[in-house]
């Protein structure tokens, strides 16, 4: 039985570990280059309270297998009406729609918190993330070409945005697909 709950201090180590999977596995899922430490997640967790909460998804005895967070929009942190969405799934549990569940949960929370829209800065090469984001109603706003250098390669980054007053795709698309797989 999988359950999504707010992240707490005791999740610091597993949150760091799951994030580092994305760096180590060269998934093109983050523009961080060096692994993060569990200690560095403590101030991160202290910051990630409303209106920028973090969540984990727990799988019974297997413990935490993914996490999500709302963040200040990294390029313009002082903009009050938007938040940036991050979702990371443990390397042994990818492709099981966990990312989708975390997306939907966190989008719902963002809406309740009063954000107008969400943004995600996603590497163009990270097709699974872009597909997942578009399935829950994000659309591509723009693409920055060769904006980052990752693993020795110049890479493109897409900015995606989701208007939180628009429920259509969430309901009709992703939820349905998610239901069919369970």
């Amino acid at each position: 039985m999988q359950e999504i709950r707010p992240a707490r201090e005791s999740d610091a180590a597993i949150i760091a570990e799951i994030y580092n999977h994305a760096i180590e596995d060269r998934l093109f899922a983050t523009c961080d280059v060096k692994p993060v430490t569990a200690e560095s997640r403590l101030p991160w967790l202290a910051f990630h309270k409303d209106p920028f909460p973090a969540f984990v998804i727990e799988d019974g005895a297997n413990g935490v297998i993914g996490w999500s967070a709302l963040n200040q929009f990294s390029v313009r942190p002082m903009y009050p009406a938007i938040a940036e969405l991050s979702v990371y799934v443990h390397r042994n549990y990818r492709n099981k729609f966990l990312g989708g569940r975390l997306f939907l949960h966190t989008i719902g929370v963002a809406r309740k918190l009063g954000f107008q829209s969400l943004v995600s800065l996603t590497l163009e090469k990270n097709k699974p993330s872009i597909r997942g984001l578009m399935a829950v109603g994000f659309r591509k706003a723009l693409i920055l070409r060769e904006v980052a250098m990752l693993h020795g390669e110049r890479v493109d980054v897409a900015w995606l945005q989701k208007d939180l007053s628009d429920w259509t795709n969430e309901e009709s698309g992703y939820m349905k697909r998610l239901g069919e797989t369970q």
Binding site: C31, D32, R76, Y79, I143, L144, R145, V147, R154
Partner: protein, 169 residues
Amino acid sequence: MIAYQKSESSIRAIDAADLPRITAIFNEAIEAGECTNDVRPRTVEQMTAWLTGDLPDYETYVYESSGDVQAWAAITRYHEREAYRPTVELVVFVTRAARHAGIGGQLMNMLLERAKQLGFHSAVLILFPEPLYVIESAKKLGFGELGRLHNVYPAEGSWRDIVLFQRRL
């Protein structure tokens, strides 16, 4: 550092004494709704942290005419994440009284040249969709329009879009 000379005006690197004037010019743009960088005025301390905290990779210049700082421009960090280091965001602010005299374009050309010398790969601008003359100037300087985020900047009773531009250096 490079310096350009044009009649009694000059472009030079900033020093600490310029920060109050730079802050005032920045806040003039914020209050006029011309600047996407923040939603409220900044203090001299905030401006100092922004413009001098990341030295020496990023640089700020002032445009001075007869001893009066009328404009400033900077090569700033685009994003805190390490992989984004090849990209910079350029900003130019001209005090209202000195506008439409080519100072902004002169500063932007200088920043583009300098950012290239520093080895950066591309530059971005983050602008409002209006006024159009700013958008037109960006295009004339070789920036391509990438697209926009909708309804993200607070304005009286509504929200404004921001538009991104990028140019290879």
